[in-house]
């Protein structure tokens, strides 16, 4: 069974040293007391919870999965107890405002928590994670009464939430959805329709489940501008706000999936269920956009989780497993063979997983920082800049980190050879679990269209140029570390130029943006990672051998990333410049031959 330890030291490095969250928190009203020691204490406590409660449920969640019956859905053995302790510990409320029963910490602390619980057990972590959308919807758009009844219980974790978007015929294109909402005389609505792929739609962890359902009013315009949001609880609240009568909704079945078996992926049937409108009618999608970035960061975290597991699982195996001799002479002359970590190709796999885990972590926490500034910053200009940076980099983070998370999970499995394919070793589960992350919360293709269309070309590259200006300035300030900053500065220039070229082509032919999108996103992802690794290299260079060589390892990994991974930009660049002609020329009928 593959080991997993919450990566406390690296999180401390990213949060306290690279991005200096403690200093940032001092500038937020109400967060001044939250210093480095407090942050470390929370981190340690969370890590302990994860190691004791969640890591042990990792395999059983996969082998047992969820079971459906007409009475409801049963989660795997131990999930319910772990959730109860999670609630007892007050963890769900960590980053919610105090006014609604939260602990008042910035959202970046919630992101930190999600990284820890997600790495420990992603299928379990999705249950509290799915409340995110419901909480944010109600927080931003709910009436005071709705907040009073639902939000406080969601914040405490007593109830959980879902987002019911997808229907069988519409996923990426939500404008096609058909679920209906009929207004009733008492101001409520009757919701009717079937939703699929509803994570945590039904389970036995909480007393009540609060669904936020996307549906159409009778007079709604067609397409995305005719969608409204409704609160549809599993149990209707009574006058005191406690759960009372069962609502007319049920889980029809569970999907049989490739992975994340411990999480219930439900078909949800709404049969004239009672619901309440949230926000303005027909503005449902706009309401959801308010928390789209944080939701996507929430999925980007999954990439780190699986990269970290891939790396951590493979490392002890690579040190223990004896096979063949090192090419540069025996390293373990008393044994029958050398540990496979002496073989360069095994190291290549390990370092790739390591670089993606640590690089993904840096980008996620960087965005968490921007998110905090947007929500708590006292300077309007800084808030706006952070919001724009967040808009630009979130699709990159979601798609790039999950794609590379899957690659890293595969690297970890490959280190195990045939033993990686065996369920009991946990490495193949990590690959299966990770595979969903490039599909849900907007596929990689959808993220890439968002990036190239809405975030780059639509505003003439203004946001991107500001980001590249910052990279250029960093490179100039750190010209002494030219091993990293020189290639980074070149790439920054190339990225700018490439974007200009694409903009011109896209004006002439709309298909150019779509044809370039995923290559462009991955290209952008590697350069964004290079910027973060260069920052690490600069920081680590000043630390010498401190902390048992921790910083030296950072420099080695940065160097590996720059010279062995970063050249992938050349492949994406070549492919991007080939344009759309080869993609669109083949008639649809010929695809079958």
């Amino acid at each position: 069974m593959a080991v997993y330890h919450p990566p406390v030291r690296d999180i401390q490095f990213v949060r306290n040293e690279l991005l200096d969250f403690p200093a940032l928190y001092q500038t937020f009203p109400g967060c001044e007391g939250f210093d480095r020691d407090t942050l470390n204490a929370v981190l340690d406590e969370l890590a302990r919870f994860c190691a004791e409660e969640l890591v042990p449920l990792y395999r059983i969640g996969d082998t047992e999965g969820c079971t459906w019956s007409a009475d409801g859905v049963k989660t795997p053995t131990g999930f319910r107890e772990a959730y109860a302790r999670f609630v007892e510990g007050g963890w769900p409320a960590l980053s919610a405002p105090e006014a609604i029963g939260g602990q008042g910490l910035p959202e970046s602390m919630g992101i930190l928590m999600n990284e820890l619980i997600g790495g420990a057990n992603w299928a379990w972590a999705m249950y509290p994670g799915l409340s995110h959308g419901a909480k944010h919807t109600l927080q931003a758009h709910g009436t005071p009464e709705q907040q009073q009844v639902y939000l406080t219980k969601l914040v405490s974790g007593q109830w959980s939430g879902t987002m019911c978007l997808t229907e069988a015929h519409c996923g990426s294109d939500l404008g096609l959805l058909k679920t209906r909402a009929e207004p009733q005389a008492d101001g409520t609505y009757k919701i009717t329709g079937t939703k699929i792929f509803i994570s945590a739609g039904e389970h036995d962890l909480t007393d009540n489940i609060v669904h936020i359902v996307l549906a159409r009013l009778p007079d709604a315009p067609s397409g995305t501008k005719g969608i409204s949001l409704f609160i549809v609880p599993k149990f209707l609240p009574d006058a005191a706000g406690e759960k009372a009568a069962r609502n007319a909704l049920s889980c029809g079945s569970l999907e049989h999936k490739m992975g994340i078996h411990g999480n219930a992926t439900c078909v949800m049937n709404f049969d004239g269920a009672t619901g309440w409108l949230v926000g303005e009618p027909n503005h449902g999608l706009n309401c959801m956009f308010t928390f789209m970035n944080s939701a996507r960061i929430g999925t980007a975290i999954q990439g780190i989780a699986h990269a970290e597991r891939g790396f951590q699982g493979a490392l002890p195996y690579a040190k223990d497993r004896l096979a063949m001799r090192s090419l540069s002479g025996k390293k373990n002359p008393d044994g029958v063979a050398d540990p496979i970590i002496v073989h360069p190709d095994v190291r290549r796999l390990l370092l790739t997983a390591k670089a993606f885990a640590e690089g993904g972590r840096m980008l996620v926490h960087y965005l968490a920082r921007e998110l905090d500034i947007v929500q708590h910053g006292t300077d309007a200009a800084a808030r706006e800049a952070a919001d724009e940076r967040l808009a630009l980099l979130t699709p990159i983070a979601k798609a790039f980190i999950t794609e590379t998370g899957f690659e890293a999970a595969n690297c970890g499995m490959q280190v195990f050879g045939g033993h990686g394919y065996i369920a009991e070793n946990g490495m193949e589960q990590n690959v299966r679990d990770s595979r969903i992350s490039t599909l849900y919360e907007g596929t990689t293709g959808i993220q890439a269209l968002d990036l190239i269309g809405r975030k780059v070309l639509l505003n003439g590259g203004v946001n991107l140029n500001l980001f590249l200006d910052e990279i250029d300035a960093f490179c100039q300030e750190n010209a002494a570390q030219n091993e990293f900053t020189a290639p980074l500065a070149e790439l920054s220039q190339e990225w700018r130029k490439l974007t200009g070229e694409l903009g011109e082509k896209a004006v002439a032919n709309m298909d150019e943006a779509g044809a370039a999108a995923v290559d462009y996103l991955m290209y952008a992802g590697y350069i964004t990672q290079a910027w973060l690794w260069a920052r690490v290299a600069v920081l680590a260079a000043s630390k010498g051998d401190a902390d048992g060589g921790f910083y030296q390892a950072k420099i080695h990994t940065a160097r590996f990333f720059f010279q062995r991974i970063l050249p992938r930009t050349k492949a994406h660049l070549g492919s991007l410049r080939a344009g759309s002609a080869g993609l669109m020329a083949m008639p649809q009928e010929l695809f079958i031959f």
Binding site: C170, G171, S172, D173, L176, A323, M324, V336, A337, I341, P344, D345, V346, R347, R348, L350, L351, K354, N410, M413, G417, G418, Y421, I422, A423, E424, E428, V431, R432, R435, T438, G445, N509, D511, A513, G514, A515, V518, D519, G549, F550, A553, Q563, R564, P567, K570, A571, H572, L573, A578, S580, G582, L583, M584, A585, M586, Q588, F591, I592, F593
Partner: protein, 583 residues
Amino acid sequence: MNYAAPLAHMRYLLNDVFEANKHWAEMPAFSSIDSSTVDAILDEGAKLCSEVIAPLNRSGDEEGAQINNGKVTTPKGFPAAYRTLAEGGWVGLNGNTTFGGQGLPKMLTVLFEEMLYSANNSFTLYVALTSGAALAINAHASEDLKNQYLPKMYSGEWTGAMCMTEAHAGSDLGIMKTRAEPQADGTYKISGTKIFITGGDHDLTENIIHLVLARLPDAPTGPKGISLFLVPKILVNADGSLGARNAVAASALEHKMGIKGSSTCVMNFDGAIGYMVGKQHQGLAAMFTMMNYERLSIGIQGIGCGEMSYQNAVHYAKDRLQGRAAHGAINPQGVADPIIHHADIRRMLLTQRAWNEASRAFAVYVGLQLDLANHHPDHDITVKAAQRVALLTPVAKAFFTDKGFDACVLGQQVLGGHGYIRDNGQEQLVRDARIAQIYEGTNGIQAQDLLKRKVLINDGRWMRDFILEMEQDTMNASPVFATEEDAVLKACSTLRELTLWLVKQDKRDADLCNSSACDYLHIVGHTIYAWLWLKMIAANPVDTDKHVLGRFYFGRLLPQIHALDAAVRSGPDLVMDLPVDKF
């Protein structure tokens, strides 16, 4: 999830791209093959795969192979389908005609193998392991053993299994422990435990013929002390009838990510009676003669998976309505356009297709080289072909399976969330394809074999010969394809220069080879695919969709070579410098 064999492309490769008939005419063993035989084999093979074997794929995955009280059962329908396959004579397609095999060219049978894998990976492994074991017996066993075992294996009455891996010895077989004690009657008693034995036990046939690697009492340590033994599940009497049960049994099945319908067994040999195959202490060498066939076959698993995933994805992409095409509605009457009109969906489909078709072409080329090496009357040609086989087999195995896996992941991605759902079949292909990068020598081991044993060992001479062949062939192509020709020649020179650089640098740093091997193998693969895409374009100047696909390959996929080249040239220090305790 209906499977339709890509017969048009298969025929195009045999007839137009490689002109199989010309080659067969030169080899007495194949000179009687005519195009109607070839057509019949492809058509009937396709029908068998679509109608009999593919329908058992999903149920086989859900049901899995089972073990109860030491008895292994395969999923429902497998035994009957295996009988149908056997009765049709499909198991012995490549087999030696002296012992009842059909003796067909590998160049042709690689195509049938691909169909089998597309239809059902788990099922096909029982067939593939039988072919592999028969090959080793045919090459190294005594005439008595051949007479006794080969006809029943070719006929499909018995299957074969290869017993190599032990719990502590996989990539490094030299450290294996299974013992073989010589007996007075010339047989051996085999004792030990083998793991990961595909088809080690099952209910498809009444007997299973194990080829087991083991050590004699006086054997030297390491790989030079390993001998090969034939160990039947049920002992065979002199008259060919079945006798007593041998002391070999499956004690457990592995729980795996995929290929669940294939029984992956822990096999216990408790003084089982065995017969030596080949010479003592030369078991590994004997295994290596069949290794090239087996590796090619497992490579083809990657193509089969990629093709099936492509077919599912295209079907979905034409049906699924979502969003509008960038340049205006294509399906104005519908609520949305089929997603095949979105450029990014096409990128994924064409990437799958470009890999699949180039891989298929390469499989046919390597199959041809195996045929030439074994059957051509001209000694110089056999020597050259044998070199090509040795050089290119690791590339085929690793590149087919890496690109096949990538293709399956893309095919799953086309279905969005529906790709993650078991009923839709795409996730099974990802799980089934994943093993092919690992077994039969991990792709890391293949890459090391290529660079160390096939390239550096002769200072790159074999590789340079092969590059020259690609270049000459390219320069003979029609001038109409100047851009593509130029791209192939550029890729060839990138590969040549990198090979020379590696030969030179290798002497300075022992770790360079292994740190470069995987990326180097991919550069070789890309260069070959560029060459083959040009061949496929040039073989029919009016076949315009081949041109579209070829241009897609050159424009969108070949550029990966630049990233790989830079990674190799960064040298070994980047992977070696980090001390073990700092990982």
